[in-house]
Symmetry: C2
Subunit: 190 residues, 2 copies
DNA sequence: AGATGACCAAAATTGTTTTTCGGTCAATAA
DNA sequence: TTATTGACCGAAAAACAATTTTGGTCATCT
């Protein structure tokens, strides 16, 4: 068997279960059935191992988001589906949920950093989708970077933040879709 | 002189300078030139004294925001001016800046709570402005609560969050105004 | 009757000891 | 020769103990 793969799987399991800080290299070595030193022949240090795992997760998210896309549907429909899909990952995906919690509670720097990178990744993913829609003539030209940022932040606010100020009553997906349709999305149409 | 007023001024000074946690009741008593026990004849405890000070600040903000309003200007212009005004308070107003920092770094619960209340206050202030504009026929009917929330979060994202992911290069006010004009604001017009 | 500051328990801070953990590398195995 | 290992190390964290600070009270004094 591939030792590198064994290590990746063990690390993914441990980070998902215990988070970054509470995962020890001894722990990972034991789960992977390798000596601790072996890990360091594949990964320079704990943080690089962690980054590798997170990269895997980002790919999973991208795949899930692409899967939520409907060929031939409007930009609005697809953008909505993709953003909702990615935001659901925050609660659904064990590792993601764990990292969000650890970032908030423990303030682990490596985790905070990686969470910011994930969000950047999402924004630039949205940005490419906007640019493609502009090329197709579906949207009118705009500052795609800013619009992607605004869209992401808006969804975050409605999906994640709203519940915190309104006794955890989360907004229905329909209400979110309706609000954004009548504000941001229509303005973007060509 | 009014002992209650002396205490309020002393507390405002101390909270602004040192934050909530690092302000002691002995400190406030000394600055106000009263015995510590006297404070407790006017305020039930430290947190109530704190709330009284924050309430003063919220009034100041509301006044500053109203002052930024131009009679006869469009909803967009006034909403923009008011929101920018309130968001500038975050850096400008010594107490507000101190509290934001303390909430983030120290995590003082009383501070976090009060910061959330301030934001709620801002959102409901925007909400009333939206409703008034709808009544005047300037805006078409909408879910004023949600729109107010979205507007506030959008401004927060552009003014406060953008710099964090883009090496602290903050967006120009003109760029912010332009983006929101071409997305949210135009959609709201009647 | 209003104001005060010495006083108290609880909480925070500081100081000390013990344990844990990331990373290395000489020894070992293949 | 090359890949793997786990005992070992210093630094950092956790656990624990000792000390100080602080919000709040109340008997005393204007």
């Amino acid at each position: 068997m591939d030792r590198r793969q064994e290590i990746l799987e063990a690390a993914a399991k441990s980070f998902s279960l215990f988070g970054y800080k509470a995962t020890t290299m001894d722990q990972v070595a034991k789960i992977a059935n390798v000596g601790k030193g072996t890990i360091y022949t594949f990964f320079a240090n704990k943080e690089e191992l962690f980054n590798a795992i997170v990269l895997q997760m980002v790919e999973e998210m991208r795949a899930a988001s692409d899967a939520a896309t409907v060929e031939g549907a409007s930009f609005e429909q697809n953008a909505h589906a993709r953003l909702m899909q990615m935001l659901k990952f925050r609660e659904t995906h064990q590792l993601y949920a764990k990292l969000i919690d650890e970032g908030k509670e423990l303030r682990t720097p490596a985790v905070i950093e990686v969470l910011a990178e994930i969000e950047d990744e999402i924004v630039s993913y949205i940005k490419t989708k906007i640019e493609r829609a502009i090329d197709k003539g579906e949207l009118k030209p705009c500052d795609s970077e800013l619009v992607a940022f605004l869209l992401f932040k808006s969804y975050m606010a409605l999906v994640v933040d709203w519940g915190k100020t309104h006794q955890d009553e989360e907004l229905s997906e329909e209400r979110i879709a309706g609000l954004l349709r009548s504000t941001i999305f229509t303005s973007l149409l060509a």
